[in-house]
Symmetry: C2
Subunit: 85 residues, 2 copies
Protein backbone atom coordinates (compact mmCIF):
# COMPACT_ATOMS: atom_id res chain seq x y z
CA UNK A 1 0.00 0.00 0.00
CA UNK A 2 0.89 3.66 -0.31
CA UNK A 3 1.33 3.98 3.44
CA UNK A 4 4.59 2.03 3.65
CA UNK A 5 8.10 3.41 3.44
CA UNK A 6 11.42 1.57 3.59
CA UNK A 7 13.57 3.18 6.29
CA UNK A 8 17.39 2.95 6.05
CA UNK A 9 16.99 -0.07 3.75
CA UNK A 10 16.33 -1.95 6.98
CA UNK A 11 12.69 -1.89 7.97
CA UNK A 12 9.22 -1.02 6.79
CA UNK A 13 7.22 1.68 8.48
CA UNK A 14 3.62 2.83 8.11
CA UNK A 15 1.24 5.02 10.08
CA UNK A 16 -2.46 4.25 9.96
CA UNK A 17 -4.96 6.92 11.05
CA UNK A 18 -8.22 6.29 12.91
CA UNK A 19 -11.07 8.44 14.18
CA UNK A 20 -10.50 7.51 17.82
CA UNK A 21 -8.56 5.37 20.28
CA UNK A 22 -11.02 2.48 20.31
CA UNK A 23 -10.78 1.94 16.55
CA UNK A 24 -6.99 2.17 16.66
CA UNK A 25 -7.02 -0.49 19.40
CA UNK A 26 -9.30 -2.72 17.30
CA UNK A 27 -6.84 -2.45 14.38
CA UNK A 28 -3.98 -3.25 16.77
CA UNK A 29 -5.78 -6.49 17.57
CA UNK A 30 -6.21 -7.25 13.86
CA UNK A 31 -2.47 -6.75 13.36
CA UNK A 32 -1.83 -8.94 16.40
CA UNK A 33 -3.95 -11.71 14.93
CA UNK A 34 -2.05 -11.52 11.63
CA UNK A 35 1.26 -11.51 13.50
CA UNK A 36 0.35 -14.65 15.43
CA UNK A 37 -1.02 -16.41 12.33
CA UNK A 38 2.15 -15.66 10.31
CA UNK A 39 4.45 -15.87 13.34
CA UNK A 40 5.94 -12.56 12.27
CA UNK A 41 5.63 -9.82 14.89
CA UNK A 42 5.99 -6.14 14.06
CA UNK A 43 6.47 -3.37 16.58
CA UNK A 44 3.12 -1.65 17.08
CA UNK A 45 2.90 1.90 18.41
CA UNK A 46 -0.65 2.68 19.48
CA UNK A 47 -1.70 6.17 20.43
CA UNK A 48 -4.95 8.12 20.22
CA UNK A 49 -6.23 7.81 16.63
CA UNK A 50 -3.03 6.30 15.27
CA UNK A 51 -1.20 3.01 14.85
CA UNK A 52 2.40 3.15 13.64
CA UNK A 53 4.00 -0.10 12.52
CA UNK A 54 7.70 -0.93 12.25
CA UNK A 55 8.55 -4.30 10.79
CA UNK A 56 11.58 -6.26 9.68
CA UNK A 57 12.87 -9.83 9.75
CA UNK A 58 14.92 -10.20 12.90
CA UNK A 59 16.76 -13.31 11.71
CA UNK A 60 18.34 -11.46 8.76
CA UNK A 61 18.16 -8.01 10.47
CA UNK A 62 16.53 -6.63 7.35
CA UNK A 63 13.70 -7.00 4.89
CA UNK A 64 12.43 -10.28 3.48
CA UNK A 65 9.54 -10.91 1.12
CA UNK A 66 7.48 -11.99 4.14
CA UNK A 67 7.65 -8.40 5.44
CA UNK A 68 6.06 -7.09 2.27
CA UNK A 69 3.43 -9.83 2.40
CA UNK A 70 2.55 -8.84 5.98
CA UNK A 71 2.42 -5.17 4.94
CA UNK A 72 -0.13 -6.03 2.24
CA UNK A 73 -2.22 -7.98 4.75
CA UNK A 74 -2.25 -5.02 7.13
CA UNK A 75 -3.34 -2.73 4.30
CA UNK A 76 -6.23 -5.07 3.55
CA UNK A 77 -7.21 -5.13 7.24
CA UNK A 78 -7.09 -1.32 7.31
CA UNK A 79 -9.25 -1.05 4.19
CA UNK A 80 -12.10 -2.61 6.15
CA UNK A 81 -12.04 0.41 8.52
CA UNK A 82 -11.66 2.99 5.78
CA UNK A 83 -14.64 1.51 3.90
CA UNK A 84 -16.78 1.93 6.99
CA UNK A 85 -16.18 5.68 7.27
Amino acid sequence: GDAWTVVDGHHLEATYAFPDFETALAFTNDVGELAEAEWHHPDIHLSWGEVRIEMWSHDIDGLHRSDFAMAARMDRAYAAYADGE
Copy 2:
Protein backbone atom coordinates in the same frame (compact mmCIF):
# COMPACT_ATOMS: atom_id res chain seq x y z
CA GLY B 1 5.04 0.71 41.01
CA ASP B 2 8.78 0.23 40.70
CA ALA B 3 8.49 0.06 36.94
CA TRP B 4 7.80 3.75 36.38
CA THR B 5 10.31 6.50 35.79
CA VAL B 6 9.74 10.22 35.27
CA VAL B 7 11.48 11.28 32.05
CA ASP B 8 12.63 14.91 31.62
CA GLY B 9 10.14 15.96 34.30
CA HIS B 10 7.57 15.64 31.52
CA HIS B 11 6.20 12.14 31.19
CA LEU B 12 6.01 8.77 32.86
CA GLU B 13 7.51 5.72 31.24
CA ALA B 14 7.40 2.02 32.11
CA THR B 15 8.23 -1.21 30.34
CA TYR B 16 6.27 -4.35 31.22
CA ALA B 17 7.67 -7.76 30.27
CA PHE B 18 5.63 -10.76 29.12
CA PRO B 19 6.42 -14.34 28.13
CA ASP B 20 5.08 -13.92 24.58
CA PHE B 21 3.34 -11.64 22.10
CA GLU B 22 -0.17 -12.85 22.87
CA THR B 23 0.09 -11.95 26.57
CA ALA B 24 1.59 -8.57 25.75
CA LEU B 25 -1.36 -7.95 23.41
CA ALA B 26 -3.81 -8.97 26.15
CA PHE B 27 -2.21 -6.44 28.52
CA THR B 28 -2.39 -3.80 25.78
CA ASN B 29 -6.14 -4.38 25.71
CA ASP B 30 -6.31 -4.03 29.49
CA VAL B 31 -4.50 -0.71 29.26
CA GLY B 32 -6.82 0.31 26.43
CA GLU B 33 -9.85 -0.45 28.59
CA LEU B 34 -8.41 1.65 31.45
CA ALA B 35 -7.61 4.46 29.03
CA GLU B 36 -11.16 4.54 27.71
CA ALA B 37 -12.68 4.30 31.19
CA GLU B 38 -10.54 7.20 32.49
CA TRP B 39 -10.49 9.03 29.17
CA HIS B 40 -6.74 9.32 29.52
CA HIS B 41 -4.81 7.69 26.68
CA PRO B 42 -1.14 6.79 26.98
CA ASP B 43 1.13 5.90 24.08
CA ILE B 44 1.46 2.12 24.00
CA HIS B 45 4.43 0.43 22.30
CA LEU B 46 3.73 -3.25 21.80
CA SER B 47 6.41 -5.63 20.64
CA TRP B 48 7.12 -9.31 21.18
CA GLY B 49 7.04 -9.94 24.94
CA GLU B 50 7.00 -6.27 25.90
CA VAL B 51 4.68 -3.31 26.37
CA ARG B 52 6.27 0.09 26.88
CA ILE B 53 4.04 2.92 28.09
CA GLU B 54 4.59 6.67 27.80
CA MET B 55 2.04 8.88 29.49
CA TRP B 56 1.48 12.52 30.27
CA SER B 57 -1.38 15.01 30.41
CA HIS B 58 -1.57 16.64 27.00
CA ASP B 59 -3.59 19.64 28.21
CA ILE B 60 -0.82 20.76 30.58
CA ASP B 61 2.00 19.12 28.54
CA GLY B 62 3.27 17.50 31.70
CA LEU B 63 2.39 15.33 34.66
CA HIS B 64 -0.79 15.54 36.66
CA ARG B 65 -1.95 13.39 39.56
CA SER B 66 -4.21 11.52 37.11
CA ASP B 67 -1.07 10.19 35.37
CA PHE B 68 0.15 8.64 38.60
CA ALA B 69 -3.32 7.21 39.27
CA MET B 70 -3.34 5.58 35.81
CA ALA B 71 0.18 4.25 36.40
CA ALA B 72 -1.00 2.56 39.60
CA ARG B 73 -3.98 1.04 37.77
CA MET B 74 -1.69 -0.39 35.09
CA ASP B 75 0.57 -1.87 37.77
CA ARG B 76 -2.46 -3.59 39.30
CA ALA B 77 -3.52 -4.92 35.89
CA TYR B 78 0.01 -6.21 35.31
CA ALA B 79 0.08 -7.92 38.72
CA ALA B 80 -2.69 -10.23 37.50
CA TYR B 81 -0.30 -11.56 34.83
CA ALA B 82 2.70 -11.82 37.11
CA ASP B 83 0.68 -13.80 39.65
CA GLY B 84 -0.21 -16.32 36.97
CA GLU B 85 3.39 -17.17 36.12
